[in-house]
Subunit: 202 residues, 2 copies
């Protein structure tokens, strides 16, 4: 008599799938390998998820999304002076992310590059998550205006788009050759860029 725990079974499948997708991409992820990692069988898999694609959606929403939220969205709300504090947040990133991130990059960006043009379901979910991410940055810059940290005429949304772009680009570049200079370059130059958002009459 084995004790059953449907929620935990589902969660185990999700975590193993997330791990495999992060390492090999969605198309590279093998259902059989997820089963091997969890010690479960086909029956369990297709009971909880109807198909490989639906599993992918679930991983995106239940694994990747919370990760982005805790790693980025939540810390951003605590930033007072974007120009000064955001680069500091970047510095702490190395310690805040799990080791697998160094090797395989940002799971959201990976899925974005692989699946956005392949599957509409992925595309929509990914686009929404990026929008949410940009929103968080926009709020951060907007909130910096009343306190005089950011110029009033700055287009916060445009700046937010740019910052997210730099982040994804940087993580992508780092994935290629893991060069420390690459990360350092983005860190220093984003800081220089942010200085341009300061009010003129300092």
């Amino acid at each position: 008599m084995t004790i059953r725990n449907p929620q935990q079974t589902r969660e185990r499948l999700l975590q193993a799938a997330f791990q495999e997708i992060h390492a090999h991409g969605f198309q590279g992820m093998r259902v059989d390998e997820v089963l091997r990692l969890t010690g479960l069988q086909k029956g369990a898999f297709y009971h909880h998820f109807g198909s490989k694609t639906k599993l992918g959606y679930a991983v995106l929403e239940e694994q990747v999304r919370p990760l982005i939220e805790s790693l980025w969205l939540e810390p951003l709300t605590k930033i007072e002076d974007p120009v000064c504090d955001f680069p500091l947040l970047l510095d702490s990133l190395g310690e805040r992310i799990p080791p697998t991130m160094h090797e395989h990059g940002c799971p959201l960006n990976n899925l974005a590059q692989e699946m956005a043009s392949q599957d509409e379901g992925f595309q929509e979910r990914i686009a929404q998550m990026f929008t949410q991410w940009i929103d968080a940055f926009e709020v951060m810059f907007e909130q910096g205006k009343p306190d005089g940290y950011i110029r009033k005429d700055v287009d916060s949304r445009t700046v937010a788009r740019f910052v997210v772009t730099v982040l994804e680009g940087c993580i992508g570049m780092y994935k290629v050759d893991h060069a420390q200079e690459q990360w350092a370059a983005c860190r220093s130059q984003i800081s220089i860029y942010l200085q341009t958002l300061r009010p003129v009459n300092n």
Copy 2:
């Protein structure tokens, strides 16, 4: 009696493979589909390329590399004032790239994100091509110094790294939802950033 042309046969295979890899990724590319597109048979394929992987390498070096060179490296050599001319080069990009690029993004970046952590052969070739690309930007910024376009104390390599990062990030973001604002944001903010490279006593 059919006329044989080994070089052309090889080239046809390369072009079809490039097209398929660009559309579906390397792992998503099917040898059979390349054969169908070219009207050739397995014999021809495995005569010219020993394996799918070797074909991938050949596509990278004989299709992607020349594309990067003609689209970026070559135009960069003609730029005099980086701060002013580079954003103009970006503006002309829309007309200079083939339509498939809009849909599937940068083939080099796609392969980078998909294969860098999967296969050492890909990783090394991709890293080298990125280095070459960064080199070209570095030269551009360095050459802008004697003429007073760029501050003498600017670290050209760091700036070059940053610019390539922004480009790849931007193309990647554009791939997700094809938003015009995304492209416009990067275009305008990269221009603002480049202004910080100007000498102070203008």
